[in-house]
Symmetry: C2
Subunit: 539 residues, 2 copies
Amino acid sequence: MANGRNVLWIMCDQLRFDYLSCYGHPHLHTPNIDRLAERGVRFNRAYVQSPICGPSRMSFYTGRYVRSHGSTWNGIPLRVGEPTLGDHLQEIGVRNVLVGKTHMRADTEGMARLGISPESFIGARVAECGFEVFERDDGLHPDGPYSPNPEYDSYLKAKGYDGPNQWERWSNSAEGEDGEILSGWLLGHSDKPARVQAEHAETPYMIQRFKDFVAVAGDQPWCVHLSLIKPHWPYIVPAPYHDMYSAEDVLPVVRSEEERQDPHPVFKAFMGERVSKAFSNDETRAKVIPAYMGLIKQIDDEIGKLMEFLDEKGLTDNTMIVFTSDHGDYLGDHWMGEKELFHEPSVKIPLIVVDPRPEADSTRGTVSEDLVEAIDLAPTFVEFCGGKPKPNVLEGRSLLPLLESTEPIAWREFTISEYDYSMRNARMDLGLPVSDCRLAMIMDKRWKFIHAEGFRPMLFDLQEDPQELQDLGANPAYAAERERMSEALFAWYRKHHTRITMTDDQIAASAGKELQAGILIGYTDEEELEEAKQEQGLL
Amino acid sequence: MANGRNVLWIMCDQLRFDYLSCYGHPHLHTPNIDRLAERGVRFNRAYVQSPICGPSRMSFYTGRYVRSHGSTWNGIPLRVGEPTLGDHLQEIGVRNVLVGKTHMRADTEGMARLGISPESFIGARVAECGFEVFERDDGLHPDGPYSPNPEYDSYLKAKGYDGPNQWERWSNSAEGEDGEILSGWLLGHSDKPARVQAEHAETPYMIQRFKDFVAVAGDQPWCVHLSLIKPHWPYIVPAPYHDMYSAEDVLPVVRSEEERQDPHPVFKAFMGERVSKAFSNDETRAKVIPAYMGLIKQIDDEIGKLMEFLDEKGLTDNTMIVFTSDHGDYLGDHWMGEKELFHEPSVKIPLIVVDPRPEADSTRGTVSEDLVEAIDLAPTFVEFCGGKPKPNVLEGRSLLPLLESTEPIAWREFTISEYDYSMRNARMDLGLPVSDCRLAMIMDKRWKFIHAEGFRPMLFDLQEDPQELQDLGANPAYAAERERMSEALFAWYRKHHTRITMTDDQIAASAGKELQAGILIGYTDEEELEEAKQEQGLL
């Protein structure tokens, strides 16, 4: 049962791993996040299970691979009955609370089939991916039906910002010389300040909502998913963050002409998407990336204040703090915008875990090079809060052993990420049916292999080519590596991913019990049966 | 919605495909079942998705592969939320009714997690694999807690048979010369008559229960799963069926000494199981198989009467009749007892479908050589009853096209079956962890390839070696065939098996709708945005 420990699980959206100074950014100083890394373990090889919000988050929230939970893209409901972190924490008396974004869509059809009302206590949790919702805000309030209940808009209204859609008009728009509103959706405006004051921007607002939760939380231990919307687009940030960085502070773009010559067909289709073309324009990058950096800088400032708050509230000693992201952002690298493919800027995430237990003292300030996955967080939280392992359901591994010692231990050899592009223009460009848009990445510490259904694979050698500029997927010299990685991927597919109702231990314990149950299979006569009963101690 | 059609879905347990005269048995005449074949289509290549009761049935009941539903062995609960045939029929107003065996175990933990009471209307269905239970009887009432509510025992008691455990004492025991009770579990007693009178045996009893259902069914269309327990063990049958057949009527055993020389390790472990040794004894076979044949003969007799009943009740013209089994029985072939591996006597089933619609007239009395799977029945029933296809959930294919025409159509090229032997002594013999006991068969019309985790594969050429006596799994001459089959298996694994909450059509319809939703990704300025809006007709 719960041991009085809390988890504060901070997730940014679309934060690239290398846009933090502790991960090596030379110009973007993030001292507060760096301080977390000093207090805990910084994971240098952390990967998401799908490089896009929805399925990545469903993997975080279930501790399961995309092929297991089945929610392969944004807006594809998480099937009812898929066990969530919230279910596991609930069992041990820990609240699993959402403050911010989830991108979850409820399986209303499945709920109706099972007679689960979204109004019921359980139904409300099922409809929200296992979370008790303190505040949900998916961070997009475009003019349309996207987010029907934007509390943040009401907050802005109360602060004197006029509507409609304060989110769009103030936090995500700039102003022109004649006072006209310039949409922050448009990348050409990213260098201008958002109209909102910095203190009323989305990041400080949502962190304040976490504080509001703490004020009313009471004594029950909690895991709060503080899910920040930034630095996700619209790429626009209020003053003073809008001009803290300039084009000179931007990391050099990682791309080569060779990449555009005879590229993998799927890569080519993605390079052809509008957003990729936009981010291949250096002028656009020079406007957008400084804003992206400003958004991160604001997060860092707010994280600093948040840590002070935890100290003041006496929460530091019993709260695990996790800082991570749901995926990265190409920002023009590899002629790409957005995320979705498997180059490091997209699929790799920052992950810092501060474990307050004395058992974790020996690892503070260290860097782990083990291959860790987004699905490792759920089992980590369950174990940290006093729960038992559930390897039949939770496909990730608890990180506690890596937090307790820097000595090498047996750990996974491969990490997996999946992406289905059936919702994308790339599918139409390639003329594929919805069912065949499956990509799967498997990587070890050196090789990254990407299976692309219906096409040749991609292969990168991260040791010789850390920038992933040379796709070896068609190079005859690497046939053996491809074969090895393909076989490892096949082995992963073959594993049980859905046998969630019984543990291996339970199976082992019930094996070979026919005779005890009076089920007599293969006995010819009484003598033989007596003998067997005697052997099994049943007489 | 429902179109007033019913389905009578008769399933035997452990009935080998070739122990019926319509499938070629030279001595076991089953004229009533043969008559069904004359009235419908007899499928000559029908395979189960797992050659053992529990997972095979869960695939029948969900229309999904074992790797999808996750219930890999008897007693492993079907996870809550896994959609069943009952769910799909319920949507179109058709009752899905159980009369007989399911071998289902409810996911009580998952139900509790979702707050579904087994007492509720929905909960009762969820707890019974989507069935409305008219009568459930898993066909085993050993002395123990197996079946807590054996209605059949009460029936026997009312008929004057004394207890306790009338099922065991009367229906599944013989009597010795001195009146002592001889257990029918013991194969040495299989040649003796069961103590029960034939008319009170399990088969006529359960068929009577179907008639009882019809008497009270009312007007709502139904699908009744009339799930007979026989010819499953205990292998014992009442007079006069116990001596209708003799050792001369038994099919010649199919086995070779070569099979025991250097066999595949998993095959070897199974040959070493007690039941395999028992069935490798010709004396035992000579006692057991005539009883097995007698059980089938009784089923055939009762099917004849049942068809008369349907005629009398006016049900023949609007009721689809299906006759099948959940798997076969080695009966000593290949030095094996029981089922569980993938030789034809185990994994292949009889399947006869009588479709009363005029559209099916042209196929009556024909034999289909298409590869069909157990999971095809659920979509067949849904379509027959007026429902829409659900390819995202139902992994099988409706058989209606094969019932409507004998013209060749595009059909599946491979059939798949899976088996996990972690509950078996074979696992202990091989010293394997529970997680690694995975077998998967893929076959086309000629080649049968079996992946065995951690071991070499098995391979059979059904054209050159229809009796499957030569395992080509290690023969270098067949490397290319193995490679081809292995790749086909890999391709099957890679498919989506869990994306059940959205159809491909829905995905196609929602793709590329960002701009319509006000999500503006990759636009640099107003001009570009206007242009795109114009292109998409949004202005």
